[in-house]
Amino acid sequence: MKARRPVRVLLVVIGLAILGLFPLLFSSPTTTSIAVFTLIFMVAACAWNMFAGSSGYIALGHAVYFGVGAYTLTLLANHLGIAAGWGVFALVPVAGIVAGLIAIPTGLIALRARRHTFVVITIAFMFIFQLAAFNLAFTGGSSGLQPPTPLWSIDAYNRNFYYVTAAVLVATFALTWLVRRSRFGLQLLAIRDDEERARGLGVRVARIKLTAFVLSAIPVGMVGGIYAYFLGQIFPQFAFDPLFDLSIALMAFIGGLGTLFGPLLGALVLESLQQYFTVQYGASQAYLIIYGVLFLIVVLLLPRGVIPSMEELIGRWRGRSSPPEADSGEPGRAGDVVEAGVR
């Protein structure tokens, strides 16, 4: 516990440095393009985990907010006639806000249910939105929509998208960190462990859950907008994609559900791997097999995810190398300590 804080600060500083320098060090367009997709998924997994990892509500419908963000940015850019270039990035926060607004009614409905029912309702919402995007007039149906395409050189194109997405990632991570250390975050964790008891301790569970749900939808909507702008086209099946839902959940699970850094690590590994395979072997869905295998390995060997398991390992290693203190509050001896305290 004691040594962790400086380690974390160091990790964040190193992470920021790598984040800032990456496109300068690895400037090949293939690499920077993979990096943009990876950052998009790091944001999504991080935001998803803030809600699902903290509250224990495994939402599998965040593609709704990703798609709403993608369509919001595209439609607004086209209808307002915003010229391709930096101006369109100003719509990214708007995409986030619209996604957040959509998250209010959908969240209200889904959060009336718990556990499996909640999961099923969120999946249903994803398909309802996909179906709507296929069939409504203003979404362009199955032929999709094209946002304006900026006339940057390939290098500048990827680099600009990279830094915008990186800024969203930093903001999202800061948000999840603030939530985690706030009273609000503690209440979310209480809901995860025992919702009924949390109510009995005055936690206004309905509001807390909805707030977290909406907060987690906003960054997802923002990267949805970036995604549409980056690709230069958007189709219903990619905007509202069930694989998106599974991917971000998997990333969080693999890295460590409910941890701060877990989803970042999970998304970094999985998304860059997937993009790499797509580049190497064409746009097959062979990466799904790798997802499955990785997931099985993690569930079998590191059931709580990579980060918690590593922490435990380090903790055990430290415990062995230093002599145990008299008052370490070790679980095995907890009883004796209190029995002594009672008398």
Binding site: D193, E196, R197, A198, L201, V203, V342
Partner: protein, 252 residues
């Protein structure tokens, strides 16, 4: 002395089972009241109705004369009624100290609570004092899931005290707890009572109830059988009947 918490003519049924029928109970301010009765007599159901976890089909729950019949559990707690559960419920993956801090939001709004760090210095100090009070302060950073059963009961009680409720409803606080800890628990309840806290305790441990409570209510088949001092209750033939003669109605 005035009535602090009161159930009047409460009815509650689950399908065909009438769990409570016209049950009444009142708890005077500053008192330790007991609620006993054979298994299945409706004690926990009455607790659930009084704390907003279940809705009653008829009757009223009043706190200081005001109806809280339709209040949610969150609201009931905010008004100053804390409860524990028959099967102890804690946030098992949170540390003992974090468990203590969950209830600290009682006095503030929701937006403000979202903006603030979890547990100000004063709140942490208060939480540690209360942990000291129940003898758990040395385990503050242990996950609550690692505590023994008796320690969990103590933590559950202490985590309510953080919010300083006016009345505490304890559902079988001594079940599964060793005798040393039972004495400790009953000592703590007396001490809290001296500082003005009101209690309503559901118990099967007669020695504990009779030693602690000045007024005992007996429930039988969802009805209030008798209310009186421990001596009156002990001498009442209807009570003996309910416990000894009523077994075929309840357990079997």
């Amino acid at each position: 002395m005035s009535t602090l918490l009161e159930a009047a003519g409460v009815c509650k049924s689950f399908g065909g089972l009438q769990a409570l029928s016209d049950t009444s109970l009142s708890v005077e301010e500053g008192q330790v009241a007991g609620l006993i009765g054979p298994n299945g007599s409706g004690k926990t159901t009455l607790f659930n109705v009084m704390t907003g976890y279940e809705r009653c089909s008829a009757g009223e729950i009043r706190l200081r004369g005001e109806s809280i019949t339709r209040a949610t559990p969150e609201r009931v707690f905010a008004l100053g009624v804390g409860r524990t559960f028959q099967i102890t419920r804690l946030f098992f993956r949170l540390s003992v100290l974090e468990n203590m801090l969950v209830a600290t939001q009682r006095h503030e709004g929701w937006i403000r609570s979202a903006m603030r760090g979890a547990g100000s210095a004063a709140e942490r100090r208060r939480a540690l004092e209360l942990l000291e009070f129940v003898g758990l302060s040395r385990l503050a950073n242990t996950p609550a899931g690692n505590l023994s059963y008796g320690q969990r009961k103590l933590l559950e009680l202490a985590s309510l005290l953080v919010a300083d409720p006016a009345v505490l409803l304890l559902d079988e606080p001594t079940a599964g707890v060793n005798p040393t800890l039972i004495n400790q628990l009953s000592e703590r309840i007396r001490e809290l009572n001296r500082t003005g806290k009101t209690f309503l305790v559901v118990e099967h441990n007669m020695e504990f109830v009779m030693g602690l409570c000045r007024q005992v209510t007996v429930l039988h088949q969802g009805r209030t059988l008798v209310t009186g001092t421990p001596d009156e209750v002990r001498a009442n033939p209807a009570v003996l009947d309910a416990y000894l003669g009523g077994a075929d109605d309840d357990d079997l």
